[in-house]
């Protein structure tokens, strides 16, 4: 039955082309929102690969975004176009590999603390490596030049970010269908079992760090070409926390969760702002916005640790169930297809994972 996957791929490709083209129909503000969500989603995909699929939690994503941003900013200013984005990915991959070295000996909370330390060290380096980062003053970045054309509009950057998001998603999903991808899942579930199965755990983890770092570096490159300024403050711990929040809210170990989580984290403040304006209580909601965000994270952790993705699936199943109750004779295919968690998602549920800490 090769026709169906080919048709699905064609449909997905068409959807991506339409999404990229649609960016040019947006106004600047809308394009900026799309761009912000797409970049955040690329970063969340990278972290989801590392954490959701390979079980290595990291609090150094902010620093890796920064490494990508400074690399792309400097090379972009030197006239590199696409090369600046790829180089940012490579720089992110190398840095991620170095940050990941302690993971060969540490696990769980202990490794998370090691990444936190790496975040602080790199933040400090951003401040003192003035020839590269321009220190506290920040690196002013010229607009990106791609194939001889300067990208000047928010719409163009949104289209680029959406295109890169689609490519990244497809590549990572493809990776998970290879032996390396399957090894990620086994390592996440139990390293001893992985060893018993003949998987080189250290090499598998290193692959996860390299790929995740590359993607994170690329997200940093896309970010800096829109912001046009890279300062150390922009890549501090709160950015890492935001990315962790995205995969918690969206759903660990589920690719669509990265996009949903990114959209939620990026758009929630804007939505609260607009609701506040409509009810003329914007000033009140200014203060409540951060609190509401924190509260929602807690609620997700308590009631739906598999995130928005699982929530939407449950909703779809409930709708399908309601329809089938009304029309039992015709609704069975929809109900049958509403299986919420396939084998991959079941593996992804955090509460089923074996977590152990300490030196190994």
């Amino acid at each position: 039955m090769p026709a169906r996957p080919a048709r699905s791929r064609a449909l997905v490709l068409a959807a991506v082309v339409v999404a990229v083209a649609a960016c040019f129909a947006l106004n600047r503000f809308g394009a900026y929102l799309v761009h912000s969500v797409a970049i955040a989603a690329i970063g969340a995909l990278a972290l989801n690969l590392l954490t959701g699929f390979c079980g290595q939690i990291s609090f150094a994503q902010g620093a890796l975004v920064g490494i990508g941003a400074y690399t792309a900013g400097n090379l972009g200013n030197a006239g590199w176009g696409l090369g600046a984005i790829l180089a940012a990915g490579l720089a992110g991959a190398v840095a991620s590999l170095v940050i990941g070295l302690p993971a060969l000996r540490l696990r769980g909370l202990y490794y998370a603390i090691a990444t936190l330390a790496a975040q602080f060290v790199i933040e400090y380096l951003f401040k003192i490596a003035e020839p590269i980062t321009k220190g506290f003053s920040g690196l002013i970045v010229k607009p990106l030049v791609l194939f001889g054309r300067t990208l000047a509009s928010d719409q163009a950057y949104a289209a680029l970010a959406v295109g890169v998001l689609a490519l990244t998603w497809a590549a990572l999903a493809r990776l998970m269908r290879t032996n390396v991808g399957r090894a990620f899942l086994v390592v996440r579930e139990n390293e001893l079992v992985a060893k018993g199965m003949g998987i080189d755990v250290a090499r598998t983890k290193m692959w996860a760090f390299v790929v995740s770092g590359f993607v994170t570096g690329v997200s940093g490159a896309l970010l800096v070409f829109t912001h046009r300024l890279a300062t150390p403050e922009a890549f501090e711990l709160p950015l890492s926390i935001d990315q962790v929040a995205m995969i918690i809210v969206g759903g660990q170990g589920i690719w669509s969760g990265s996009l949903l989580g990114a959209a939620f984290v990026v758009l929630l403040p804007e939505a609260i702002q607009r609701v506040g304006e409509a009810f003329d209580i914007a000033k009140l909601l200014f203060a409540m916005r951060e609190m509401a965000f924190g509260l929602l994270i807690i609620l997700f952790l308590m009631f739906e640790p598999r995130g928005l993705s699982a929530l939407l699936r449950r909703l779809a199943r409930w709708v399908a169930g309601a329809v089938s109750r009304k029309a039992p004779a015709t609704a069975s295919p929809a109900a049958a297809s509403a299986e919420p968690l396939g084998p991959r998602a079941t593996l992804a549920a955090p509460n089923t994972r074996t977590q152990s800490g300490g030196s190994t």
Partner: protein, 388 residues
């Protein structure tokens, strides 16, 4: 319930659609919630001044002002997003932004969009009327404030100075510029040391012990109120008098004497705007507004906000008058006209908040005066001094 659902739907619709062009749209963002929210009276003051004009004069030149106040949260990505909303969705004729970072990131964009942009920063890096003709600030730069403070100290007999600053752009850049300029030595002062500290430090006892060992006549602090609170608290611990310290205009917060009490007595800071409550004409306007509205802040930073409101309103009024008494229908032409009129502001009476101002220099008042904590309040020392 239906009404509420309708409002929510309206809010969602607003996300996608741009509002209709109001008479005069002004967009203001500040740190309403965030690390430097202590000084956000600067944003509230400007917003309230436009409300005051709407309530008492029917707006500017008879046209209602739609002043939108947004929260930039002192986050660059949030500020960049708000800027696009202001330009693209709100059709703002003037934008009042906040941080140094956003002003630097946006300065090229502002030229492309040709929208007048007034920033709260005092950074000299965005002040260039030729290169950035649409960017304005509202007072003496940090470097000018530092020179005013040091000159005052020199005039009082000081010979040896130490500079203290936070480890960020705001702390480090002005100190570097002044040191490299050689102005400290030119005025006959000896720079003993420059001490950098973590901007979020909660204990600076070690740094203050270093100050004590150097025995300076004056210490100039380039930081904001929270850091100055730590410095003065720890200075008392090591036996240093608050009279030794001078801060910039962000150290003239009532919080300092309120929280430190005697440990703040004698501390001096640079004052660019009048204190809240000073017997000046602008205060009568504020009192009249306060009688019918609730003020979010009542401090010197609110005065700065009110001052900016007066300057921006004067420029908008001139632009409308030059267009025959109506706001130009073309937003691009309106923005260009307001920019030109901001530059044309000359000898404008701002109700005593500062001496009459001229904005041809894109920074307005370059005068400042020293203010000292006496009896738990800031008391002006002498008259306004021109930084230039």
């Amino acid at each position: 319930m239906k009404r509420h659902i309708g409002r929510v739907l309206l809010a969602v619709a607003l996300l996608a659609a741009a509002p209709a062009l109001a008479d005069v749209n002004v967009c203001i963002w500040g740190t309403i919630t965030g690390p430097d929210a202590l000084v956000n009276g600067m944003s509230y003051g400007t917003h309230d001044y436009f409300q005051y004009l709407n309530q008492t004069k029917g707006g500017i030149a008879g046209q209602k002002v739609n002043a939108l106040l947004l929260d930039g949260r002192y986050k660059l990505d949030e500020e960049l997003k708000i800027y696009r909303r202001c330009v693209d969705q709100e059709n703002a004729v003037v934008i009042n932004g906040w941080s140094t970072g956003s002003a630097k990131a946006l300065r090229e964009q502002v030229q492309q969009d040709a929208v007048p942009f007034v920033s709260e920063t005092f950074s000299s890096e965005v002040l260039d009327p030729v290169k950035y003709p649409f960017v304005f600030i509202a007072g003496a730069t940090y470097e000018q404030q530092m020179l005013i403070g040091l000159r005052a100290a020199k005039a009082a007999g000081a010979k040896k100075v130490i500079l203290m600053h936070g480890d960020n752009e705001y702390g480090r850049a002005p100190v570097t510029v002044v040191r490299k300029s050689g102005e400290i030595e030119k005025m006959g002062l000896q720079l003993l040391d420059t001490i950098e500290f973590r901007y979020d430090a909660q204990d600076l006892t070690a740094q203050l012990a270093r100050v004590k060992a150097a025995n300076p006549d004056i210490v100039y602090i380039q930081s904001s109120t929270p850091q100055t609170l730590v410095i003065l608290r720890d200075a008392a611990k090591v036996g240093l008098s608050p009279k030794l310290f001078i801060g910039n205009m962000y150290n003239i917060s009532p919080t300092i004497p309120e929280q430190l009490g005697p440990a703040a007595e004698g501390f001096r800071a640079i004052q660019i705007y009048a204190n809240y409550g000073d017997p000046i004409p602008a205060m009568k306007e504020i009192e009249a507004f306060k009688a019918k509205n609730t003020l979010a802040k009542q401090d010197l930073y609110y005065m700065k906000g009110w001052f900016k409101g007066k300057v921006i309103a004067a420029a908008i009024e001139s632009a409308i008058k030059k267009n025959g008494g109506k706001a130009p229908a073309d937003i691009k032409a309106f923005r260009k006209s307001v920019r030109d009129e901001l530059e044309n502001v000359k000898g404008l009476d701002v109700g005593g908040i500062t001496p009459p101002v001229t904005f041809a220099n894109h920074q307005g008042p370059t005068q400042a005066r020293m203010s000292e904590v006496k009896g738990g309040k800031y008391v002006a020392l002498g008259d306004w001094v021109n930084a230039q």
